[in-house]
Amino acid sequence: MILAKTPILGDLENLLRHVLNWLHGSVGLPWAWSIVAITVIVRMILVPLTVRQIHSMQNLQRFAPQMKEIQKKYKADKKRQNEELMKFYRENQINPAASCLPMLLQFPVFIALYYVLRNFSKHPPSGDLSWLHFVPNIAAHTTSFWGGYILLVVYVASQMASTLYMSATVDKTQRTIFMLMPIVFVFVIARFPAGLVLYWVTTNLWTVGQGLITRRLVPKTAAPLVEKRSSRTPPKDDGTAGNGAQPSSGEPRPKSPAAQQPRKVRRKKKAGRR
């Protein structure tokens, strides 16, 4: 695929193969369901990370009006807009939902699975490689049988649904792009083994399920955070607070020093990210 096979990748492939063998041989699952099981195991390991992520996303949505204000203000300058948003996050203790690490942790599994399935297509293992009657062979290219097209449609739907639940961005255009992405990538994925698409669909469905559950379990508690805000920020400049409170941009602020004073003792240190 994209990466040349290095020793580490070989080890990863072996490890994944062992887990698959165990799920198939000892637990007694068919190969396809073993892939589903592996996906579920990986996602279960990542649960603490994703739950945290969903919570911060809900937090983010609470501040959506103020953030839209900032976006409107710096419409012309995308870079500046981003910086101002980041400052707003910091000031309001918002933890932006999306972070690279949890996503990155899934890549090794994904790549290892690719190699395992490629190996399967060269040297088919004993046992049934089909899934739910409509996928005859999980090691074959997804489009090499009619059931693969169903799988691809399910993939697009599940990817869109999970984007809906996990996308952190408030930016409408960006969200639309992310929603349309799977339609474009379906053409790339069509060349992948069906088992890989199966992994994808499972992980997406897990994301959606997790989103639904956490949404139900965690009620939106807007009140305390709003109060926290108003204790620091005079209500009259609420709309521009995200911009006004930043100390480093060099913009002279015509505010009285008394109004500035309490801001300087923000819980900055506690919010430090390192």
Binding site: L49, M86, K87, Q93, N95, P96, C100, L101, V188
Partner: protein, 71 residues
């Protein structure tokens, strides 16, 4: 820095393949991949890799994100 270019190329390879398949927005500005590119350009391959790896570790659900360029 010629070795750094290799790193920049790898980041682009990631961006066009896996990065595009798994859409996420980064909580940092510049994003992790842009940070890696900047690091490779200014610090070279070895130190750039270390900086990029450390940034990726920081880009977790417990951090607060924000404006964080390569210094």
């Amino acid at each position: 820095m010629t070795a750094g270019r290799l790193g920049v190329g790898l980041v682009w390879l990631y961006r066009l393949t896996l990065g595009a398949l798994f859409p996420t927005t980064c909580k940092y500005e510049p994003s992790c991949s842009q940070y890696a590119i900047d690091a490779f350009r200014t610090k070279g391959l070895v130190r750039g890799s270390a900086l990029a790896a450390w940034r990726l570790l920081r880009c977790n659900p417990w951090s607060h994100g924000g404006f964080d360029p390569v210094r």
